[in-house]
Symmetry: D4
């Protein structure tokens, strides 16, 4: 069995590569998926393909719905959903993904720093693991997928 792991959340650091490279180095039977992490493309995909909008709300709406085609499909297809909260921005889409995954019974790993601990307590309460670093996520995947602790 090849495990499918969806990497949701922060797109402004290289945590996904760290997780992916760590898993690859260990030879884990896993394939990763993620939202589009090109911020500009993600914001503008709707109007770029389907035509410009005068109103910022609809500009964003078209893009967000187009991204949802990708994200919901990949979350549905995932065995595990990892949600990373970074230092910046509101990141409500990350929390939304966590709620979506929870309601679909996907095992959730949340990753964030101590500073967000209290604010993320409801999200953490829905997770099966709360990590702080990509290295920990890799170790969890190693344990869960390969059954090896060290």
């Amino acid at each position: 069995m090849i495990w499918s792991v969806y990497l949701s959340g922060e797109i402004h650091s290289n945590w996904r590569q760290e997780v992916e490279q760590g898993a690859e180095a260990l030879g884990l039977a896993v394939q990763f998926s993620a939202p589009v992490t090109d911020h500009a493309a993600s914001d503008d995909c709707g109007v770029a393909i389907l035509g410009a909008e005068d109103d910022k709300f609809w500009h964003d709406h078209k893009g967000a719905q187009m991204n949802a085609i990708r994200t919901r499909t990949l979350i549905e297809a995932a065995d595990i959903v990892v949600v990373r909260f970074g230092e910046k921005y509101k990141q409500w889409n990350a929390a939304f993904d966590a709620g979506y995954a929870a309601a679909r019974n996907k095992p959730i790993i949340v990753m964030h720093g101590d500073d967000h601990q209290h604010a993320l307590k409801e999200v953490d309460a829905a997770a099966l693991a709360v990590a702080q670093t990509p290295a920990q996520v890799v170790q969890i995947l190693k344990y869960v997928i390969a059954g090896k602790l060290a």
Copy 2:
């Protein structure tokens, strides 16, 4: 049919009362539910009932899981989920509830000000209505439940 409407999100303004009073004034066939809106009780319920924790993470975890008994049950029982994003705090639990409701196919009404428009675009994209004021939510409920526009 009595419609069940869950009012998720911000607990530091009186928007729930405005919605409830507006609906009552119109005689709508609706019953409202909500998370516990007493901030201190919501934070401390876990340790108050089940015993203190030295570690803040587990203090919060116990409380957040206890609150989840209430919130998930009421979201499951709801016909419509209204999610309000206020001015302050991270409000990740509100976005989590929106994601949860979306994955359970609950019609979602999001309420927030213009300043959050871009940051909430993914949440808005999962909603069937995006309102700014409690009065608009009351009007939507009137239209949806009673079938009357004015």
Copy 3:
């Protein structure tokens, strides 16, 4: 048990009243629900409550999504879905409702005239009864709910 019957489709004739009055005259244990049948309200509800749109597409989109809050909730709550196709208009929303109800395993009664027979064959193929008149629908409800044929 009170049966819930959703009456989808044509809003420009009085077929709903005929079905409802026929059922009432027979004292059937049934409650009916329906989309908003005020055509102007149905078209304009979105902008009337949430603000005007310059673009006709978004004007319609806001209204259609607001109507969906009502229609999807009532279809979910229904035991039986009746879908009426009239003489005029494209009525794609009626066919959409039929597909939605089929995928949710709701028993479907379709009502239409002979002239639409070929064009509606896929919709009819998903139905458990294909009627032509409100009186037939009333007779079906009498048989199904009260267990009496005549």
Copy 4:
């Protein structure tokens, strides 16, 4: 992951080939499925295989149910459902497929010209993208599947 995309709707233009060739030219990881697009075969399959019917209704019923074996299975298996409304015919089966896909939580891309905009507003309201041309559908698939905008 190979994405499965179901192409529903109009069978009297070559829009499916355009989408398929466009996707192939881009090397997208996608496989397409569709209803039987041979109009005569689609109409007559039931009686051709299972025996003639005197009554046009049952002639059509047998064919429509046989086609449903194919279409419902492929919609269930699809990650994305594209629904094309053309210029001619009632196309209620296309709207039915859209409703079916919506109730099964399949991301929907609707494709139609401006002239059908108002009549399709309920179908569009259930879609995550509303396109006008096969080229736009190809671009959406490229963005959604390969994560590239241009």
Copy 5:
């Protein structure tokens, strides 16, 4: 809680009355439902309401589909499904109902005589109780609903 019990199967003996009267005598919190047990009405309902058919297959098809509106709705609404196999006829509809109920996770009580034991082994294997008499069914309902053995 009022328990809903659907009584499927044989319509040529008075076993339903025996079960219902037995439950009533015990004051159990139960409401019963059943298919239409008027054999002629059940056979002819389709053509009586929707018009005659020359072909016996379609005559039966129309009736069977109309009956399915009732039976599937009531099985879905049931907490327990009792399926009675009598002495006569093929009774494939009874076995069909048992399979349907099994796939919907409804607790099943099968009732039949020893002579059908081997032929019904697959149906019995899906049941939580296999009874022979209406009195036993009443005792099971008393135990299950009221929690009293004698």
Copy 6:
């Protein structure tokens, strides 16, 4: 896509081979599954593996439950379920499988002779095709899977 087709019902004629050979001759993208068709093995598997039973009921029960491990798994995995009713025996397990498949939304093809038409009307009413011969089933599979009528 390789279609999975489950062949339920009669085990005393060679209809499965006819269907399988017909499909193979046409090169259809299909894999077939079936219950264990060795009658003696099917009856005795439970006691042969898990120990003898004095009581015929439990002898049969053990076997029927062991067969259910296979049959329910394969029905769940099937895209299409074909149910064949032969000339002999009660065949309640075939009708049970049809009910099970119907409740799991599997497209059903029923195959039987004219003599069983009336007794099978409820099963036929849940099917998308009613055939009489293996050759017809092959033609249906060809049409449904390959999209070719002749």
Copy 7:
């Protein structure tokens, strides 16, 4: 909303009465359900109603399946499932109920003493609250249902 709470597990102490009386004293909007707590009746119900068995396995099997008609129905109908592990016996049925409830997304409250802490860690990990006394369970219900902490 009247909350439904299922009280699973230990039947040899009066913890259910304590919970029920505590909730009643507080006037909570709750109705409780439970397995049959008469140990002898629970063990013998199957043979008492459906006939004696020579083999202890089938004696127990008949009883356990009859009890399952009650317990699975009530767990399905519950908003919250409380599972109590006492001092004695294996109590595998309690852990089974917890697993069943978890897979059905029911919020779980586990109640047990410190001595079982390690052995119950997997069950606790699926719970939203782990209590030690009936008084704590009453407090949780008060908080969750009435929204009051003290």
Copy 8:
């Protein structure tokens, strides 16, 4: 079709190897999965990866939740769940897995000795086969997967 079989329960004997080797010797089309069977790793995985806990409860909680990422995913992916109860320990996690699998409609094979027969009657009542030895499990898999009794 390659069957997926999850081997739950006892980790202190070599029953899994016996089942796996037996299946391999027979060339069955099956792949096995299991929880992590290294007892120490299973107990300590949470704190080893995510940091130590002073409180034994949270030490265990972190580990149990991390194990749940693996076990629930593999149970969901399984066609058949085998649950082994050994001689020692409380083994509540085994019973929990059985309940979880039952609620997810997974065919269950329970394996245990006679001494646990009465205490496991509710678990056995949810199983489709109750075996005593690994050799019997292999025979069941051979029969169910390959359709051969001897």
